[in-house]
């Protein structure tokens, strides 16, 4: 299931596994010429599309030079391509039917293979990534070194090339002012915390991505087990913060969340930032049973679908028109 449709327990929302791979004896994309990139992109996509595996029928190839900026941005907001790829006209991305797998070609590395799923399923997602990786390797020779592992453009990915991450919704830790302290306590253990759209983005809507920062020296299983320990401890703390709010400040909490729901249901115009934060509060309210979840879409899906470029679609809307369209869309689907 696509990552924003299954909210799991309302705290650990989705799971992502990314593997970085490169071809042996081949310069990385940053220093390849356009024609070289085209040639390599073809070889790489053939490793899936022309393989005997059933994967070949499940994937569709999108060449970046044939896509409009809006289409690319929409894909980035669904986390199928990186923000960097929006600006690029070289390379391609392979996406499977249910949008849980994407293989970016010619990003920072030749291959960025990604599994993204709703719920908390690190082992399952890793197994799948591992299998796709094996299919690709049947026709490709990877840049690999006995000592350094899989070789990548940036030394932060070398070794396993694995970035395992989990998206968490932590509104109660934010409201009780505990979030900074909680996240800081994990800063020295090879774990990184980022906002919804990855590196350098804000954690708007109390959405956080928790991932491993160390990729070398630990096995894939060890990396995933370590991440699980941290994620489960943070989840426990969020649960405690929710219980505390319900026990000691129930009326204030309900008032705050219901007001957010009211604004989303009646606003005529709403900015992306306000929508994100209010939808995050409704997500909490639904999860705690304060508001029924009877809308057409989950609040998380609405966050994704009302991001500036997604709400605009192919139309060129002014920010004001966008805010109006967003408010209407939310009203109808929440």
């Amino acid at each position: 299931m696509i990552w924003y449709n299954d909210l799991n327990d309302g705290i650990i929302l989705s799971t992502r596994i990314r593997l970085a791979r490169n071809l042996d004896k081949t310069p990385f994309p940053a220093i390849l010429k356009k024609d070289e990139k085209e040639k390599i992109t073809e070889t790489l996509s053939d490793s899936i599309m022309k393989s005997n595996s059933t994967l070949s029928k499940d994937f569709k190839l999108y060449n970046l030079n044939e896509m409009s900026p809006v289409e690319k941005t929409a894909m980035a907001e669904e986390h199928l391509i990186s923000l960097e790829m929006i600006k690029s006209n070289d390379g391609a991305v392979l996406v499977n039917t249910d949008k849980t797998m994407s293989i970016m070609l010619m990003e920072e590395d030749h291959i960025r293979l990604q599994i993204i799923k709703g719920g908390y399923c690190l082992d399952e997602a890793f197994d799948l990534a591992d299998k796709v990786d094996n299919v690709m390797e049947e026709s490709l020779t990877y840049a690999f070194d006995e000592k350094f592992g899989y070789l990548t453009a940036c030394p932060t990915n070398v070794g396993t090339g694995l970035r395992a991450s989990v998206m968490m919704h932590l509104p109660a830790l934010v409201m009780t002012g505990n979030i900074t302290r909680v996240l800081q306590s994990f800063s020295g253990v090879g774990i990184a915390v980022r906002g919804l759209y990855g590196e350098g983005t804000d954690a708007e809507g109390a959405l956080y991505q928790i991932s491993n920062s160390v990729t070398l020296g630990l096995s894939e299983t060890e990396i995933i087990e370590k991440l699980k320990t941290v994620v489960e401890r943070i989840s426990e703390m969020e649960k405690q913060a929710r219980e505390y709010l319900m026990k000691n400040r129930a009326d204030d909490l309900k008032d705050k969340l219901m007001r957010s729901y009211g604004i989303l249901k009646y606003a005529v115009k709403i900015t992306s930032k306000e929508a994100k934060n209010k939808l995050s509060e409704v997500m909490l309210a639904q999860n705690m049973g304060i508001i029924e979840s009877d809308g057409k879409m989950t609040p998380l899906e609405l966050i994704v679908r009302t991001a500036p470029s997604v709400i605009s679609g192919e139309e060129s809307l002014t920010p004001d028109e966008r805010d109006k369209k967003r408010a209407e869309f939310i009203k109808e689907n929440l």
């Binding site: 940053a30 220093i31 990877y142 840049a143 006995e146 940036c154 694995l162 160390v214 070398l216 020296g217």
Partner: protein, 125 residues
């Protein structure tokens, strides 16, 4: 990347060491992509996989800084890593043998010993 440019500034002393120990840094270029250590310092990225081997001492130091480790212990690709796989297997068996001896489980130790002998004596694949 900004974070990195700071980090790589820490290796200025290393550049000098490199010059003394091997050859002048400006002439040492990666045979596959043509990158020099300066390019890495400038961008924070390597030009190709071969760079890691070309600038071995440098990359080891960077990796220790970033990951507090410089040895891979994860997945090995089947094609480019067949030999490495066999080596890892031997290491694992030797470790198990040591553990078995330590806990005086001689039956397991004997089995492991036989297995190691077989791999070492036979064609490593």
């Amino acid at each position: 990347m900004d974070l990195f440019s700071e980090l790589f500034g820490m290796f200025d002393d290393f550049d000098n060491m490199f010059t003394v120990n091997t050859m002048p840094k400006e002439t040492k270029k990666c045979p596959v992509c043509g990158y020099g250590w300066n390019d890495f310092n400038r961008t924070g990225k390597f030009g190709c996989g071969e760079c890691y081997k070309t600038f071995k001492t440098g990359s080891e130091r960077v990796l220790r800084q970033v990951h507090s480790a410089s040895e891979h212990s994860g997945k090995i690709p089947s094609k480019s890593g067949a030999e490495v796989k066999a080596k890892r297997r031997l290491e694992e068996l030797r470790k198990n043998l040591k553990d078995a001896v330590a806990r005086e489980d001689y039956e397991t130790a004997a089995q492991l010993h036989a297995e190691i002998k077989e791999i070492e004596g036979g064609d490593i694949k």
